[in-house]
Amino acid sequence: MMTYLTALHDSAFSTWIREAETVWAFPTVLTIHTFGMMLLVGCAWVMDLRLLGVGRTIPIGPLRPLFRLMWFAFWINLATGLLLFIADPERKATSILFWSKMLLIVINLPLITRLERSLYRETPEPTVVSGGTKRLAAASAALWAGTIFAGRLLGYM
């Protein structure tokens, strides 16, 4: 396994992202990844806040496009995240923080799908939020916070 990671690390593309003397390589990929995070988790938290009871007068039906924004941002970050992994495969693949971050995301994605489905299953204009939906929102919000911490700490370990 390590042989493949080392080969990936030594590949021209990996070296270019990591070492190119231009802001368009590593710095730009990292910045787009940060933008995607801001958009994805920002939309998720606003949705979760509403479901947890902040701003009860905000109608839930019209908020549904936030889920599409979240998925749009998710694909941006999957792509940029892949590039960041390619730039530094050996360290990432052996880091407990990296795998914790992946685990948190893998748990969170189905939660978000379930959240959207349970919310809009019966009516496109839900007015009450069930206890189960609230628990999903709280869990998802907390998992995003954990993901941000794991991702940020990854830069220092």
Binding site: V23, F26, P27, L30, T31, T34, F35, M37, M38, L39, V41, G42, C43, A44, W45, V46, L49, R50, V54, G55, R56, T57, I58, P59, G61, P62, L63, P65, L66, A145, I148, F149, G151, R152, L153, G155, Y156
Partner: protein, 325 residues
């Protein structure tokens, strides 16, 4: 812009904008006092008091560049004969406490405005809290300004030999720096960075939805309902101000000589102005479900969202485009 980032220019900037937390704060405080003792209902609830609260919030935000240009000014004059490092440290430490209390006053004023937008009344408790915090910060600013003035003008001091004496009303910046950077504290910086990203995301989420509504998306949502989310944007702002200031105090030289840091501050002022706009803008408050948007709100929203992304970009690029770290 890089060529403008000289110690001399930054020093000049510090001397110009330090009037916000001194002269500006005095004016805002005077308006607040008049609105409290006045018999006029209009002054209490419609005109003077909300104006004083808005000024206090704006001055609290403007004091961020005042504080951060201060250490750049120190770099400009630290080798000048007759300038004492102790006097500059005494100024910095007293300014730090004054800054902290002023930020709390700004936050209290913001909550007053937020309540005022909904009920046309500022609750008495918030008025009293804002009065106390702004009075204390005005006193502390006076001390900090007096020590600061004495750095280059020892003749204003009653006894020039007292230049460099630490005021008892101060926070030790070097203790803060040690907490963030010191041996055995390696966990502090990364933890603050993580919190900084959490705060940014929270602020951006609320800002995005509120501005998009005023720009004509999510038209079925009445804006006053979204207004309830705004304290969470202020919370994000607060988390990032605390964590950001700790980075700055721990490694000032990584910022004061970095052009991206000044761009970041500039865009941050616009993002903070947007928070004030979302809180009190009359047309926003009248945006009900189905109310179409106007060009003006579309321009403001686009500028604000672009500025927020620019704050993130400049911060993210500190290590790459400038010379930080």
């Amino acid at each position: 812009m890089s060529e403008l980032i000289t110690p001399g220019n930054l020093s000049h900037l510090h001397l110009l904008i330090n009037h916000f937390p001194t002269v500006g704060l005095t004016v805002a405080f005077a308006l607040l006092v008049i609105s409290i003792i006045s018999d006029s209902e209009a002054m209490k609830h419609d005109t003077m008091r909300p104006t004083a609260f808005g000024m206090l919030f704006a001055i609290a935000v403007m004091t961020l560049p005042v504080f951060t240009t201060g250490l750049a000014a120190e770099g400009a004059i630290e080798k000048v004969a007759g300038v004492s490092k102790q006097a500059m440290d005494a100024h910095e430490n007293s300014a730090l406490l004054a800054f902290v209390v002023l930020e709390l006053a700004g936050a209290a004023a913001w909550f007053g405005l937020w309540r005022w937008r909904r009920t046309r009344r500022i609750p008495p408790g918030l008025t009293i809290l804002t009065f106390i915090l702004s009075a204390v910060s005005l006193g502390l600013m006076t001390i900090a300004a007096s020590i600061g003035g004495g750095i280059r003008h020892p003749e204003i001091l009653a006894d020039p030999n007292t230049a460099g004496t630490q005021s008892m009303f101060s926070i030790s910046a070097s203790a803060v720096a040690f907490f963030v950077n010191g041996r055995g504290h390696q966990w502090v910086w990364p933890t603050l960075e993580s919190a900084h990203f959490v705060g940014m995301t929270l602020w951006f989420g609320v800002l995005l939805l509120a501005n998009l509504r005023l720009m004509g998306w999510f038209t079925r949502i009445p804006y006053p309902a979204l207004h309830r989310l705004l304290p969470w944007a202020l919370l994000g702002f607060g988390v990032n101000e605390v964590s950001g200031m700790m980075f700055y105090i721990a490694t000032p030289k990584g910022y004061t000589t970095n052009v991206m840091f000044y761009w970041k501050l500039l865009f941050l002022l616009i993002a903070a102005a947007d928070l004030l706009y979302l809180t009190v803008w009359p047309q926003a408050w009248r945006t009900e479900a189905g109310t179409p948007s106007h060009t003006r709100e579309r321009v403001i929203g686009a500028a604000a969202l672009a500025s927020f992304v620019a704050v993130m970009y400049c911060g993210r690029m500190l290590p790459f485009l400038g010379n930080s770290f």
